[in-house]
């Protein structure tokens, strides 16, 4: 294929292929746990097939060759010639790694070592012949004669009427329409095919680069409508292709392509078809599964496995109903909507100020507009949200590989995968989570023998859980390992001078020490493992997302990392404060409370260091006007207000002249238009039209703490 492909086509391929690679990886891990799961084998096979087709179109021959051999081996598994044993799964996972590398390094010269590794995997897959198909489970083998026959699917494949009309420029995208038809033939027989040549000009008028042939046909995809969609996956949506089902689904209450529970139970050999039939006659008003359990023909565990499979199939179907949009287009849209909100607020204020009481009709109308624009803003923000599950499922592989390397047995459980958060956050969160999980397995998880002695399950457990709480997303990373060693951490922190020899310090503060830079080295804290390899980077990554992380740990029982993140990066809840004539925003997430300053809670230490006595703590008092180099405001501190803030594990009191109120603000970056300004993360426009800078609370705290340390030194 030497015809250049369009950027759009290439982008679509790269996005789709990366998604498929991630899915394949998760599905291979699933297959390792259940080598007989035919739906997983089919799914992995289809993913390899689709990447192969797409890579051929965009001219990525290495990827095409590798996926071809993967598809070939998976085909043998499908036909029962090969078993999906852990040796083959490991080999296929290595192939997935190579695929990921090839995708990441498109356009770059390949590294010699990677080429060798690609060659090794390809050869190993080609030569992989060992391993007969797994024998059926023992009880089935014994009663082989009585094994229930697998019934025909109650619904035959659905048929579709297809008008394949392509944009005249299709050839310039490197797509060969005839190849597309050949691919479609592998999806299902093309019946009643008519080639429409009416738009083909005479030879004299023809520009061979423009394509005018169309086709009409009917197709009945053997593997459901998704395989038909996959065949068109690498075509831009602008092609006027029409696909219409010829028949309505027979059972509208069940998603097309999702097996009914009864079908899954029979397919998996859990009950016979006649037992399902019998139960169905009794079904109303009870669900099928419950009746079978009541009749003693099915166990609760078997039902839960089957329901899980049904839920996965439904999810797979739901996923097909989505459209890919470039993230930058959404950013632009969100930005514009943000501008609309700001301008709307300005208009409302101006109308109030200038029109007076008689303008209530205008103000009413503006009130309606306000509601609509805020809904618009919410909806656009929601479009940027993606389920965290895509990220979570990546960790099945991380856990599997690390557990193998460390000689541990670890099980990963995931919940709340449907919790949505901003796409950018999901991308950035990958590294910190990997770090935490690595640390949990490497340092926190005891060897099997030690776990048994401690009366624990021999297989360690790590769980990833996401949920919403108080307008934020919380991600919990929990393990049931040995827990953090409080004394060892404290000892090390004292050695490093991070805490005084006799400072009273809470568990929470001790555990937070592992996030200190320099604390986290590969060096072991004690004989019992210490955590902390690069944990300062973990906290920084999370705080860059305007989130926070805290640790709880129980000796011998495990550790919990709790990450709290805002729902979106584009809008924050902020407190508008005044310093002199300027207004600033302090992110609400960093504020603990505001206090009036008085001689009772104010002291001076060592000449010029002002401190605030707050609850049981002594906090540095930060005169913001000075830190932000605004000249001398906050003259009489006792006239001012103090806001107690927290960031990066540090606390302080910020002195401001006035608190104007709380409001949602749309963040505008100033780095891109100006330069990075110390103490400031961005800017926003207030309803009055004034520009307010958003304060970088952790940044200011860091600056203040290092200054106070310097002055003490």
């Amino acid at each position: 294929m030497t015809t250049p492909v369009s950027d759009d086509l290439f982008r679509v391929f790269m996005e789709e292929a990366n998604d498929f690679v991630a899915e394949m990886e998760a599905d291979l891990i699933g297959l390792e746990a259940d080598p007989c799961d035919s739906s997983l084998i089919d799914k992995i096979f289809r993913a390899a097939h689709t990447i192969k087709g797409g890579s051929g179109i965009v001219g990525l021959d290495d990827i095409s060759r590798l996926t071809h051999i993967m598809e070939d081996r998976l085909g043998s598994v499908r036909s029962g010639e090969l078993a999906a044993g852990s040796e083959l799964v490991s080999l296929l996972l290595r192939a997935v790694d190579e695929l990921r590398y090839l995708l990441d390094s498109v356009g770059q010269p390949p590294e010699e070592s990677r080429l060798r590794s690609l060659e090794d995997v390809t050869e190993a897959l080609k030569n992989f012949t060992s391993g007969p198909p797994p024998a059926p489970a023992m009880e089935v083998e014994v009663e082989a004669d009585e094994a229930p026959p697998v019934p025909e699917a109650p619904q035959g494949p659905r048929s579709f009427d297809v008008e394949l009309r392509l944009l005249p420029t299709v050839l310039q995208d490197g797509v060969d329409p005839l190849q597309l038809l050949t691919d479609l033939e592998s999806v299902g027989a093309l019946e009643g095919l008519v080639t429409d040549t009416s738009r083909v000009p005479s030879l004299e008028e023809l520009d061979p680069a423009l394509f005018h042939i169309g086709w009409y046909f009917q197709i009945s995809p053997e593997e459901g409508s998704s395989s038909l969609e996959e065949a068109f996956m690498f075509l831009s949506e602008e092609h006027p292709i029409r696909i219409e089902p010829l028949d309505a689904p027979e059972l509208p209450s069940v998603d097309e392509g999702t097996r009914l529970l009864g079908e899954i139970l029979v397919d998996e050999g859990m009950v016979g078809p006649e037992e399902v039939e019998e139960a169905l006659t009794k079904q109303k008003p009870k669900p099928l599964g419950e009746i079978l359990i009541d009749d003693g023909k099915l166990s609760g565990e078997e039902l839960s496995v089957a329901l899980d499979k049904q839920s996965k199939e439904r999810k797979g179907q739901q996923k097909a109903a989505s459209v890919r949009v470039e993230a930058s287009k959404l950013d632009k849209l969100l930005n514009l909507v943000g501008e609309v909100v700001i301008n709307h607020t300005r208009i409302v204020q101006l109308s109030r100020d200038q029109l007076g009481a008689e303008s209530h009709e205008i103000l009413n109308a503006l009130g309606d507009l306000d509601r609509i624009t805020r809904q618009l803003q919410d909806n656009v923000m929601k479009v940027r949200m993606v389920p965290i599950g895509t990220l979570f499922h990546r960790f099945h592989r991380v856990v599997r590989d690390l557990a193998q390397t460390c000689g541990r047995q670890v099980k990963l459980s995931i919940s709340g995968e449907e919790t949505e958060l901003d796409k950018t956050m999901v991308e950035v969160l990958g590294d910190p989570l990997t770090h935490m999980i690595r640390n949990s397995i490497d340092h926190g998880m005891e060897p099997e023998e030690e776990r048994r002695t401690a009366g624990k399950e021999p297989v360690g457990s790590i769980s990833l859980e996401a949920y919403y709480r108080e307008g934020a997303v919380v991600v919990d990373v929990r393990d049931d390992g040995r827990g953090l060693d409080r004394e060892a951490i404290l000892q090390k922190a004292r050695q490093k001078g991070l805490v005084g020899q006799s400072d009273p310090i809470s568990d929470e503060q001790v555990f937070a020490l592992i996030f200190e830079p320099g604390f986290s080295t590969a060096e072991q804290v004690t004989g019992v493992s210490g955590r902390g390899v690069g944990m300062d980077v973990v906290r920084k990554n999370i705080e860059d997302l305007r989130g926070s992380v805290e640790i709880q740990s129980w000796p011998g029982k495990g550790t919990l990392f709790r990450i709290q993140l805002p729902l979106t990066l584009a809008i924050i809840e902020g407190m508008v404060v005044r310093l002199g004539s300027e207004k600033f925003i302090i992110p609400l997430l960093t504020i603990i409370e505001s206090v009036r300053l008085s001689s009772a809670n104010l002291s001076t230490i060592g000449g010029d260091g002002e401190v605030l006595r707050w609850r049981e703590e002594i906090l540095p008092l930060v005169r913001l006007a000075e830190v932000l180099k605004m000249g001398s405001t906050n003259g009489d501190v006792l006239e001012a207000i103090c806001i107690v803030v927290e960031g990066d594990g540090k606390r302080a009191g910020f002195v401001v002249d006035e608190i104007e109120g709380q409001q949602q603000v749309v963040i505008k970056s100033i780095d891109t238009h100006y330069r990075k300004v110390e103490g400031v993360t961005g800017a926003t426009m207030l309803g009055s039209g004034e520009v307010a800078l958003i304060l970088d609370v952790p940044g200011i705290l860091k600056q203040v703490v290092s200054r106070s340390r310097d002055s003490r030194a």
């Binding site: 050839l171 190849q179 033939e185 093309l190 005479s202 004299e204 394509f211 042939i213």
Partner: protein
């Protein structure tokens, strides 16, 4: 077949370039007064661009009252044209 007078041979090659070359050859052949014979023996894979040139040539040939047929079609060519129900119009 190669001894016939107005023969155009379908060759393998890069898709669009192949179509352009074929268009040039067929335009030349159309200038002659005899019917056109396309030798399809060397085709391993037919692509959309080449097929379109063949269809456009068929259209032009018919407008001039000439014949355009494919002879010695390779099995691959026959298979594709028959999938597209186009074997008849090329005399296969």
């Amino acid at each position: 077949m190669s001894k016939a007078k107005n023969v155009v041979t379908l060759l393998e090659g890069e898709e669009l370039a192949r179509a352009e070359d074929l268009q040039r050859d067929l335009l030349k052949a159309l200038k002659k007064k005899s019917g056109i014979t396309v030798d399809g023996s060397g085709v391993l894979e037919l692509n959309g661009a080449v097929l379109q040139v063949l269809l456009a040539a068929k259209k032009s040939a018919l407008a001039k009252g000439r014949e355009l047929v494919i002879v010695d079609a390779s099995p691959e060519l026959k298979r594709t044209l028959s999938l597209l129900e186009l074997n008849g119009i090329f005399g296969l």
